[in-house]
Assembly symmetry: C2
Amino acid sequence: MEEQTKYLLNENDIPRAWYNINADSPVAPEAVLNPMTNEPVTPDFLSVLFPMGLIEQEVSMDRYIDIPEEVREAYKLWRPTPLIRARRLEKALGTPAHIYFKYEGVSPSGSHKSNTAIAQAYYNKIAGTKAMTTETGAGQWGSALSMACQFYDMPLEVYMVRVSYDQKPYRRFLMETYGAEVNASPSPKTHYGQKLLAEDANNPGSLGIAISEAVEMAASSNGGKKYGLGSVLHHVLLHQSVIGEEALKQMDMANEYPDVVIGCVGGGSNFAGIAFPFLRENLKNGQRTRLLAVEPDAAPSLTRGIYAFDYGDTACSAPICKMYTLGADFMPASIHSGGLRYHGMAPTLSSLYAQGLVEAVAVSQTKVFEAAVLFARTEGLLPAPESSHAILAAINEALEAKKTGEKKVILFNLSGHGHFDLSSYNKYLTGQMEDYALPDEAVKNIRQHIPAIKENALV
Amino acid sequence: MEEQTKYLLNENDIPRAWYNINADSPVAPEAVLNPMTNEPVTPDFLSVLFPMGLIEQEVSMDRYIDIPEEVREAYKLWRPTPLIRARRLEKALGTPAHIYFKYEGVSPSGSHKSNTAIAQAYYNKIAGTKAMTTETGAGQWGSALSMACQFYDMPLEVYMVRVSYDQKPYRRFLMETYGAEVNASPSPKTHYGQKLLAEDANNPGSLGIAISEAVEMAASSNGGKKYGLGSVLHHVLLHQSVIGEEALKQMDMANEYPDVVIGCVGGGSNFAGIAFPFLRENLKNGQRTRLLAVEPDAAPSLTRGIYAFDYGDTACSAPICKMYTLGADFMPASIHSGGLRYHGMAPTLSSLYAQGLVEAVAVSQTKVFEAAVLFARTEGLLPAPESSHAILAAINEALEAKKTGEKKVILFNLSGHGHFDLSSYNKYLTGQMEDYALPDEAVKNIRQHIPAIKENALV
């Protein structure tokens, strides 16, 4: 019999509901706090930034939330995504393990971000939103929301971290091709940007700053504009659950079940997307799959951060969440995985990690690129540096299985392609890449960057 | 009932044979001539450049040629490719036409070129070839062969047109990530390159020059290296027939049959790939599908060239073929569709065009980019500029159907993605793009650039 490589589903297998882990989590989610009062936020406060459809999802305890038919129609442009057995990588490693990956890079914008971008644009559209704002680091999220806003005929303002704006013009051109307005952040368009530029005209920007600007533009628009976030928030993680739901069906087609499910984590959404449906099977149906989150050692919020209430942005204007954090003013080193350079971690994922239901590991970027090149040379696909964190962890699991002889089944999420990251590959191939592990001294000092609000006293 | 968008096949639907149009063409193929003698080439002459497996395919009159199982295994990494109904584009145009496209951009290297790259590397490998050489213009072919040679553990030397080498570093980095050695052409590594650089150290290069260098390196290697070509030759077109064979099955799944099949043409391989299986149905099974080749008005070999014997390269060292040509020393303007900047057209396709079995049209690049942006904004996928020639023609057919009210079924080949072409999109969006139609005077002078060999006297 022929060896099967790809496991494909048809359009009617696109999930009809998103899965909400909060319905099954042993610990109820913590309240989100208003940054001006430190008290739990009200829907009224959130509605300045988000349409009610998304706010309801943010706090919902329903296990399943129906995916609107219009969103499923748009998903059909690329979903269901393939599950692929990495047979060539297995052979190169000489491992008895079976390595599968879910490939989200087939989406038009090149990553899993489209799964939530379409949903967010849709809920904004039906709520009457006239225009949207957002931030982007490496550009994956900005590209995805640019496409989605174009589909629903809403103008989009993107605040793009200046260093990426300058170094990644292709990502900017892609957003502009989709019709978005892209601003280098900090930008003279916002009060916060003006303040920062007055202090330093060459401020290179950060994701936290860009979030602050996008939030300011929405909050000060008198309802004319709403804001979209590409990770961290619960409704974003919820939308990504289509990844894991499809993967469950596809692993079944392959007659296997994963011993370990792996994803990279920046804000946490692609990992949550693939892992939470498998966590449901652990919690409800007696499965015992390990769930492994992989973060860069330059921004190790899960493995070295503190579990506390903290701001989501640098200007301290975004809601306060309980999460693993390195401090809202933490500036991660300039690693090439721009999508993982964030000080915090999704509160939902943070809670599950604190409960011991999820594992985490931090890895260095030269090892990540070594894994990425091996993957490209065996499987052909060029992975995003972010996603390559998951590849490295999968390879390490497979090499461990080689030592023990275990026929382990490994599943990881290849959350995006690296077509816009080739200058990073060039740096790696020409020996110009460095590692940036966080010094112990910096870790010791994190607590002083965490806001002194009463809930943090309990931590 | 839900509207279907994508038509997917499973791995066991990957064709088991390539389709050879020469078996069904009403006119036998013309001889290929030795550039040193102007006499028909012998297999011995060709075997300096190519392994016997490919030479046999070049001259075969068998209707079907089995695809080796090892090649089908590698195809499984991305094949079968999806057939997608462009429902959002249809709506934007307000056309009664149904528009389908076959999406070859899902291949790891980003285009249809992988279909023949894998086959060529395979036949070289089993013939004992130790290393390969090739040229690349925009980089799609070079990327594909770099990946394929890595799969079969053969070193590859790529000669990349210098202007692309400088302007498209990402394509170069991709080839290097796949393990290839990439040289700017003209290069000091070859005698021909040395000669050109001595005349002009800033020679920007051309595809014809790069072919000459890659051919020289193989021909002078005493059998150590063979040469691979990404289009034009018959075996290359043959390998691309998997596109059309799959599309036939997928149109059947959609319960439709195309009135017109469209592809862009540079050397002719992606168009041949989608069109020839439909041409077989015209010739053998009474179908009447129009087959429309779309070329850039800056390199209009079919619509404005001469049907004559001509060299395939600039140094006049490659075999002489009867084809539509603008002259081997023709320098196309610097349009952004690098893959279509070639002076000639595949002999097999040229013959079918001369017989009136295929139509052709030339279009301008600003119109092409207008179509590309509309496509990206409706369907999400960012098309390669080359492939966007086909999109423009499909849109024109759909608008024509809108006028007449005809429920026409249109199928085009989206041969690759445009992720490495975003600087061209930026030029278009910022109004910096020009058109380069060939002046009538230049067309009149083409004949004087055609070699004076006896067969040309008959033209």
